[in-house]
Amino acid sequence: MANVGIVIISHSEKVANGVKDILEQAVGQVTVEAAGGQGDGEIGTSLEKIQGAIEKVHSAQGTIVFYDLGSAKMNAEIAIEMLELENVQLAEAPVLEGAYLAAVESSMGRPLEKIVNALEKEFK
């Protein structure tokens, strides 16, 4: 049985990839994809990258999506709406700190809903 997938959206490709590196180093069994920067590597976000990342990590266990700044959120929402997948949740938590917590919880096999609760408890 797969674990809950994690997607990291950042305006910076380096940040998204680096957060993925941290999660993979720190947490063994974690399914994480990075969607950072615009297509050309400039600062910004890319709908295609976000959709691709979600599709890559998504399973029946669901997916949790982290974003860094306001405008990334809008692209994340559009991506989620367009993919029409069940159980894809946008997290309202700091991108690195939130994703770290979620990765640990996911690696323990926690369900999506429980991870979202844990994030709310920690970051609200």
Binding site: Q38, G39, E42, I43, G44, T45, S46, L47, E48, L69, G70, S71, M74, N75, E77, I78
Partner: protein, 206 residues
Amino acid sequence: MAFTVEQALNWLTKSNEKIQENKDYLSELDQAIGDGDHGINMARGFDEVVKKLDGNDYKQVADVWKDAAMTLMSKVGGASGPLFGTAFLKMSMAAKGGEAVSYDAFIKALEDGGAGIKQRGKATEGEKTMVDVWSPVVKQLKEAKDFDAGLIRDSSKSAMEATKDIIATKGRAAYLKERSKGHLDPGSVSSYYIFQALSDCIEGEV
């Protein structure tokens, strides 16, 4: 008059022209209260829109808007991408079915487009965003009976200018709080260009 596929294509082509011409100005405006990329974002996005539309044989206005929407969403990179993208997507959904679009249907589409921006941005009037152009323009056009180039031109211009005095509470400019006052909102200025382009391509055709 009804709004035709040709006019829809013309509108986006003219929008692109104005945005390319004013690319640096839009970025300068964004430099003052944002991250300075609005001109670059819009120029890239609209250039891609025109490329995407070019050579395609569209049967419906709705299809033109849909392709514009998808391109803006995926190519702009900044907040204005999902926002203008959502606007054109909602307009496309409203206009679906007919080849050309009657004035009433056009206004309904614009209204849905403006509502889409508000919903996507979780913004309302008075927050110093493009909503402050879209909402008043839609409101004034609703009172007219037919396409009126002058009304589109004037309503969008005054709405754009009025964003100067607002304190931003949405988007990046909101970080500046009171310091955002005294500057035009970049997304409102690009919205103004889009409405000017609409006005231009209606002018003399009514």
